[in-house]
């Protein structure tokens, strides 16, 4: 089974702190994604990566950056956390050959609260 692991399930941070959200997948997938999920808004794409060191902006990249130094790991970075970034963050992956009809494999999410 594909496993996408988000190391932090719950985080509480203060405004202005730098926040790292880590995601690791164990199936050698080329593509990895970070989504933000808010009630009544569904999932919105923040960034995705289709290869090591490659990244593309999604629909709401402002206030976020990403890092993909190794194929299995995709990190989301909040340079200076703000209260409006309080949300559930979901990481997903899929093989390159599956684009755009393939299944996304999701982690269990990281719930971030910014005080």
């Amino acid at each position: 089974d594909v496993k996408v692991t988000q190391s932090s399930r719950y985080l509480v941070k203060r405004t202005g702190e730098k926040v790292f959200l880590e995601c690791v997948q164990d199936m050698d997938h080329e593509n990895m994604f970070w989504y933000r999920q808010d009630p009544g808004l569904g999932l919105r794409l923040i960034y995705f990566s289709y290869d090591v060191k490659m990244k593309e902006k999604g629909d709401i990249p402002e206030g976020y950056s990403v890092s993909r130094e190794k194929k299995e790991r995709f990190s989301l970075i909040l340079e200076s956390a703000s209260t409006n970034q309080t949300s559930m963050y979901l990481c997903a992956s899929t093989p390159f050959r599956e684009l755009p009809t393939g299944e996304l494999f999701f982690g269990e999410g990281s719930r971030l609260t910014v005080l």
Binding site: E56, A92, F96
Partner: protein, 119 residues
């Protein structure tokens, strides 16, 4: 351009009765369509997908969906609800035949329908 509308934000059914979760889409291209389920405090899991093969698609846990091009709909159904079906469901659209490289990958998620099952 593409969009997806889930017509109900919340659906409540009694255990053993049918489930209908409604989804309408718009797409400039022949779409792929998906339904994902999210149980509380979990990530999303694929229920089923339509990719221009059979219009009636069967998924896991007894769910199925029918692609109706004339109605631009992809409603999710199940004949008999079970308590374990209580979750949030997301309809998703992707431009299946518009593939010009990784940078064009675009999924559009609906806002979700929360299904409650009453014992």
């Amino acid at each position: 351009a593409q969009s997806v509308t889930q017509l109900d934000s919340h659906v409540s059914v009694s255990e053993g009765t049918p489930v209908l979760l409604r989804c309408n889409y718009s797409s400039s291209y022949s779409p792929s369509l998906f339904w994902y389920v999210q149980h509380p405090n979990k990530g999303l899991q694929l229920l089923l997908k339509y990719t221009s093969a059979a219009t009636l698609v069967k998924g896991i846990n007894g769910f199925e969906a029918e692609f109706k091009k004339s109605e631009t709909s992809f409603h999710l159904t199940k004949p008999s609800a079970h308590m374990s079906d209580a979750a949030e469901y997301f309809c998703v659209v992707s431009p299946a035949d518009l593939y010009s490289g990784a940078g064009s990958y675009q999924l559009t998620f609906g806002k979700g329908t929360k299904l409650s099952v009453i014992p």
